[in-house]
């Protein structure tokens, strides 16, 4: 390694840059015994030793799920036989984009308005057999 790279810089600004101070936030959670057991079990399964690593990975997964749902994508699992299960997680559904909300106020084209006016002002159509059957119940 070239010796120049080991030299201490005399520039105080560059010293600050080379040692960025990362502020870490403490995270404390009250877990029910069953949740605590679940965390321990998952850590063992994933061969994790620290709670920090566990939280970091869980956060990454949750962040990905939120971003997917925000884009309107569904999250699903698919088995080897092709059976699919869609993840429905109420909190995630809150970030999903609103689609197809019903509107009591509907858009009408001039063609549709003309057609509607003709039907409304004209004689009513005779009921079809299916309609009569539907009214029988």
């Amino acid at each position: 390694m070239p010796s120049a790279s080991r030299k201490k810089s005399s520039d105080p600004a560059s010293q600050t840059r080379s040692k960025p101070r990362v502020r870490k936030t403490k995270f404390q959670a009250d877990l029910a015994p069953s949740e605590d057991r679940m965390v321990r079990h998952l850590k063992a399964e994933l061969e994790m030793t620290s709670n920090s690593d566990f939280l970091t990975d869980a956060l990454a997964l949750f962040r990905w799920a939120v971003s997917e749902r925000k884009r309107g994508h569904r999250i699903l699992s698919e088995s080897a036989t092709g059976e699919r299960k869609v993840l429905l997680f109420p909190r995630l559904e809150r970030v999903a984009p609103e689609v197809n909300l019903p509107q009591a106020e509907i858009a009408w084209t001039p063609q549709e308005m003309e057609s509607l006016a003709q039907l409304v002002t004209g004689k009513p159509a005779e009921p079809t057999e299916a309609l009569v059957r539907a009214m029988r119940h």
Partner: protein, 177 residues
């Protein structure tokens, strides 16, 4: 299979409902209850089996609407009553695909028509309007729904059923009973 059709309730199970159409699934799962209870802009009716009375097998949503007289083409305005035209929208109708082909769609539409007639008798309503997927227009036409204009670019077709026709059908059904 003993089917009951009733209003959607808060604890009805819709998580597994799958009619094969994502917007229709999504509406039932996410919006139907809010729109019925919180904003009161539409009422959803669900079909459930008596032995599993919480699992939704099919549903439809009705909403009230109206059209101002001035919005109609001038040449027709004179033939229209001098008020807004009250309409009933059949905003959604879907059946879980696992229960397709068992007459559930007919039962749901039948209930929607009975409600439309009741509303027309009690409050006043001129017609039932629906926005049907193109591949479903034939099914609605069997019940007398008539297309309004041409299908929209999005693939849906507005369809019309006159309340007077529903009333006539009810009259015939009663006399044949």
């Amino acid at each position: 299979m003993a089917i009951v059709i009733r209003k959607l309730e808060e604890h009805d199970e819709a998580a597994h409902f799958d009619c094969g159409d994502e917007p229709l699934n999504n509406y039932l799962k996410r919006h139907a209850w809010t729109n019925q209870q919180k904003t009161a802009i539409g009422v959803t009716y669900v079909a459930v089996e008596q032995s599993a009375p919480r699992a939704v097998l099919g549903y439809f949503t009705l909403a009230a609407s109206s059209l101002a007289r001035e919005r109609f083409p001038k040449k027709f305005v004179r033939g229209l009553p001098p008020y807004e035209l009250p309409l009933l929208l059949l905003a959604r109708l879907a059946v879980d695909r696992r229960f397709g082909g068992r007459g559930l769609g007919h039962a749901l539409l039948s209930e929607a028509l009975q409600i439309a007639l009741h509303i027309a008798e009690e409050v006043g309503c001129r017609c039932l309007i629906t926005d049907a997927y193109r591949d479903k227009t034939g099914w609605y036409a069997r019940y007398g729904f008539q297309p309004l204009g041409e299908a929209a670019a999005g693939g849906t077709q507005k369809m019309f059923l006159d309340v007077r026709t529903i009333r006539a059908a009810y009259g015939r059904a009663e006399t044949e009973r």
